[in-house]
């Protein structure tokens, strides 16, 4: 993956104007990359995750459950999250998987076999 090269989104739906970029960590393991995105308040079934033309796109609204109440302090929770990542050709696009746990999205991006580092065992005589 992913130098997480930042590109500009072409069109911004107006209802997503107040979306912010989630904070992410990108980890590399021997056979895959893990992308963790903090998205507190997001329900699993509302996450839109797509990968096309070398771009991984994440978008999701925050589910506010106290809408009838008046906000008296702090407005730092966003309406939603959105971010794009560039995925290079070392990633097996068809095998990308995702799970959501406690407001953290985890995306697993397996490396193609040709891009996997190989451990070489050293034998001692």
């Amino acid at each position: 993956m992913t130098k997480s090269k930042e590109t500009t989104t072409k069109t911004q739906p107006s209802d997503r104007a107040n979306y912010v970029s989630p904070r992410v960590d990108i980890l590399e393991l021997y056979t895959e990359f893990h992308l963790f995105a903090d998205m507190p308040g997001v329900q699993k079934h509302t996450v839109e995750l797509t990968c096309a033309n070398g771009e991984l796109s994440i978008s999701a609204p925050v589910a506010f459950i106290h809408n009838s109440k008046r906000v008296v302090l702090g407005n730092s929770l966003p309406e939603g999250y959105r971010r794009l990542f560039t995925v290079d050709d070392t990633v097996e696009i068809e095998k990308i998987a995702a799970e959501m746990n406690n407001g953290v999205l985890k995306v697993t991006l397996p490396k193609k076999e040709s891009a996997q580092s190989r451990r070489i065992a050293i034998s001692v005589n």
Binding site: S4, I26, L27, D38, G41, V42, H66, L73, G74, L84
Partner: protein, 146 residues
């Protein structure tokens, strides 16, 4: 405003966000993320809501298990919320590292109209909802005209 939020880091965070915004203006797309002009706040972003019956404190707690969160009301009527966030994995190559880990501690001075015994908390999708009820005798009451 009835609940005072004691957060020593707010001013510092505000300065850091301002600096980051300036840097993003200077460096354009190099530092900014695609698809959005600004980053989410660090962990523990807070929002406080009120209606006639009480207050709700919403606090971001992404990736934090219920057991790692402690709430208490001290003798000064301050609600203290503590949590600890542990990193998922240490022994890996990090290509990008933006998320914060470690200890979180927030204090809220509760107003006099709340019932200390009626405080409930629920963790849902990484968002902590703390519900603080107002004392019934002090709640706003509508009187019907007969």
């Amino acid at each position: 405003m009835l609940i005072k939020w004691n957060d020593p880091w707010t001013a510092l965070q505000s300065e850091m966000h301002s600096l980051r915004d300036e840097m993003q203006q200077v460096f354009g797309g190099l530092l900014s993320s695609s698809g959005s002009r600004r980053h989410a706040d660090d962990i523990s972003a807070v929002r406080i809501l009120e209606d006639q019956t009480g207050y709700i404190i919403e606090m971001a707690m992404p990736g934090i298990a219920k057991d790692a969160i402690d709430l208490e009301v001290d003798t000064d009527n301050q609600l203290i919320i503590k949590a600890h966030r542990k990193r998922e994995s240490e022994d890996v190559i990090l290509h990008r590292h933006e998320r914060a880990f470690g200890d979180i501690c927030h204090g809220f001075d509760l107003p006099n109209d709340v019932d200390r015994e009626q405080i409930d908390a629920e963790l849902r999708d990484g968002l902590l909802h703390v519900s603080v009820s107002k004392r019934p005798e002090l709640q706003h009451r509508s009187i019907e005209v007969n």
